[in-house]
């Protein structure tokens, strides 16, 4: 789960990591009130969206006057930001963060993430802050220092000091940042993060260390024990169809193609998408109805596929194990009747009670194309697209 920059900074503050003075505004009025309370000029205004690359997209600006703030806030709040990451869909700007501007001497990077291969948390530090750490790692790997953390030991002071010294920081700075690293690690553990990075962590002209920007992601599997974190979720930053899908425990991700697909199992769902691509079409989504899908879930899944205006053809690929083929067939037939679907539906069924399932589909008086295997299903999808052209 992602959260906004301002939410991440509130968490940092809770863990005593210094952040710039500032507040969040949801309209122009609030923006001006914040301006009036700020003591210094200029201020920095940052659009709060779940995407990097806001700066290039016009979502960050240094503001020198009340008037300028009024203009910028009114144009920004309520707008849609299109960054490299968001692509054509963009992200809505519901609020902005207004902060004191700092005199920056140096920008550093400090982050924690999961190292899957070593099955541990690792600390990452670099004296090259302010840019994507992956790009630094690619361009000059020796400028990114990584320390894996033994879960028995936790993060040890000597590791923090060693790591930071290796980035070339001075020992005085290292000791100051050490406390921040420990706090960020504590936050990572206590809140079940999957990523917690401060980028840039800046050294000001006054030699203060401040977290200028922060990105914190959370382990979805651990949200059950963090209601405080779960409540930070901003559904406005997510695709509405995806939000709708979660209501029915459907695992749905919107993509750009025109073949809607519904599959049971994440691996088979990805393989089905890959197959669609293999025969020259583009998947419109990832949709895993899971192993225990009910008729209701199948119906809601189909409804979501149909709601997607890009979808021209639907492919249902089910390998019945626990989810029996007859249950699936019943669900599909009922849904199709309710929804009055006008596009071709190709269904491939295999596994438990497959004969019964096929019989239900055949006896439904609805036009389904039934495929015998994945290969045939893919061909029929391609064919249907050619016909609809």
């Amino acid at each position: 789960m992602k959260i906004h920059e301002y939410q991440a900074k509130n968490l940092l503050k809770e863990y005593k990591i210094p952040i710039p003075k500032g507040s969040v505004a949801r309209d122009v009025h609030e923006s001006l009130k914040i301006w009036d309370d700020m003591t210094g000029i200029p201020v920095v205004v940052k659009a709060q969206v779940h995407s990097g690359g806001r700066g290039k997209a016009g979502g960050v600006r240094v503001i020198n006057s009340r008037e300028e703030l009024k203009d910028y806030a009114s144009s920004l709040i309520g707008s849609i930001i299109y960054t490299e990451q968001t692509g054509g869909d963009g992200k809505p700007v519901d609020c902005i963060l207004i902060e004191e501007a700092l005199d920056i001497k140096k920008e550093l990077y400090l982050g924690f993430t999961i190292d899957r291969s070593h099955a541990c948390i690792s600390m990452i530090a670099s004296a090259e802050g302010g840019v994507e750490i992956e790009k630094v790692a690619l361009a000059s790997p020796d400028r990114v220092v990584v320390q894996n953390i033994d879960p028995l030991l936790g993060l040890r002071d000597f590791q923090v000091i060693r790591t930071l010294l290796k980035t070339g920081m001075h020992i005085k700075i290292v000791r100051k940042i050490g406390a921040i690293a420990n706090a960020l690690y504590k936050l990572f553990i206590e809140k079940d993060c999957s990523l917690a990075e401060i980028n840039p962590l800046v050294i000001t002209e006054k030699d203060e260390i401040v977290a200028l920007d922060a990105k914190i992601n959370f382990d979805d599997n651990a949200l059950f024990r963090h209601p405080d974190i779960a409540s930070l979720r901003d559904y406005n930053q997510e695709n509405p169809l995806e939000v709708e899908a979660t209501r029915y425990n459907l695992n749905y991700i919107k993509l750009k193609g025109n073949v809607g697909c519904m599959v049971n199992g994440a691996g088979l769902a990805m393989a089905t998408m890959d197959l669609i691509k293999f025969v020259g079409a583009e998947p419109a989504n990832f949709l895993d109805v899971g192993g225990g899908a009910t008729s209701k879930m199948i119906e809601e899944g189909l409804k979501i596929l149909v709601s997607d205006r890009d979808v021209k053809v639907i492919l249902i690929n089910i390998f019945g194990g626990i989810l029996r083929c007859d249950t699936l067939a019943t669900g599909v037939v009922e849904a199709a009747q309710h929804l009055n679907i006008h596009m071709p539906i190709i269904i491939r069924l295999e596994g438990t009670n497959v004969e019964e399932g096929r019989r239900i589909l055949a006896g439904s008086n609805l036009k389904f194309t039934v495929a015998r295997d994945m290969g045939e299903a893919a061909e029929k999808v391609a064919e249907a697209l050619r016909i609809r052209g």
Binding site: Q85, I114, R116, S117, A119, C120, I121, I133, E134, L138, D150, P151, L152, I189, D192, S194, L195, D219, D220, N221, A222, F224, R225, N251, I253, L255, V263, N264, G265, A266, G267, L268, A269, M270, A271, T272, M273, D274, L275, I276, K277, F278, E282, P283, F286, D288, G291, F319, G320, G321, I322, E350, G351, T352, D373, M374, G375, A378
Partner: protein
């Protein structure tokens, strides 16, 4: 022969009285798995399908000889269940539970490493040695006894592959799901070693997917250590970056773990990588022909 489990494996079910646990216990018994005990704290003394239920794993192992355990407990308690099994000396631990927090699994992983046991999963459909023993939730009937070993990060995609193989007359020695989470117990490398040494396995299929570097690590072992033919499929060529594709572990992040890189690395090492998921069976057939 088969790896890890066979007709003599005596199995415990942790969480036997829950819905999932009870359902799959019945399914496994039906398949022929030798289930000897179950555990649910506070329900010690009861029984299910004639199988005695104990309060703790320690109670169960004191009373019964147990080789393996299947864990069907909710995510919040599953890490504990794995540790309890390992601490009690059970050799093979299969954790079916999906949704265990990653930080819990870090601790579990390091603890397991210090013990004489292995963990399959979590978030796995389980393991099956067809005709001998099934510890998991897969539909048993699609499998046939045979000589192809399967290692997979996925559930239904594995059924798909098994189905393709079975229909082409190729049975399986053992099919094992290593689990779809970022941190799992046994990895490709461990299982490749076992299959390479297993007399009754003559070809191996890897069903990988995006996220992490498990497939890349597998290749490092493959090159130079293995003689048996290896066929691989990597799901997620069309998956976008930064999105969790169903499995907690199926995510491309920071430009790492994408399918194209994995396919490239595998192919460079000489592994047959199938692009069309409908043709995995054929690819295995071909790989075995070449070898024979």
């Amino acid at each position: 022969m088969s790896i890890i489990i066979d007709e003599n494996t005596k199995v415990l079910i942790q969480g036997i009285t829950g819905n999932e646990g009870a359902f799959h216990t019945r399914q496994m018994i039906e398949y022929g798995t030798r289930i000897v005990a179950g555990v649910t704290p506070g329900k010690g003394g009861q029984s299910l399908e004639g199988i005695p239920v104990y309060n703790t794993v320690q109670d169960a192992v004191q009373d019964k000889e147990i080789d393996a355990t299947a864990i069907f407990v909710p995510p919040a308690f599953a890490a504990d269940a794995i540790i309890e099994a390992a601490e009690s000396g059970i050799k093979t631990i299969v954790c079916l539970t999906e949704g265990i927090p990653t930080i819990d699994m870090i601790t579990v992983y390091h603890y397991i490493k210090s013990k004489d046991c292995w963990l399959i999963g979590p978030n796995t459909p389980g393991i099956i040695s067809p005709g001998k023993c099934k510890i998991g939730v897969m539909a048993g009937y699609i499998h046939r006894k045979g000589t192809v070993g399967i290692i997979s990060r996925s559930g239904t995609l594995t059924y798909e592959v098994v189905d393709q193989l079975t229909k082409m007359g190729m049975g399986q020695s053992t099919c094992i799901g290593i689990g779809g989470d970022p941190i799992v117990g046994l990895r490709y490398v461990d299982l490749l070693k076992m299959f390479e040494e297993d007399e009754d396995t003559d070809a191996i299929v890897i069903i990988g997917e995006i996220g992490g570097t498990a497939e890349e690590e597998a290749v490092q072992y493959y090159s130079g250590h293995m003689k048996k033919p290896l066929v691989a499929f990597i799901a997620g060529v069309t998956a976008p970056e930064g999105r969790r594709m169903g499995h907690a572990g199926a995510i491309i992040s920071g430009g790492r773990g994408d399918a194209k890189t994995k396919i490239k690395v595998l192919e460079e090492a000489g592994v047959t990588v199938v692009k069309n998921p409908a043709q995995i069976g054929q690819a295995v057939f071909h790989a075995r022909q070449v070898r024979v």
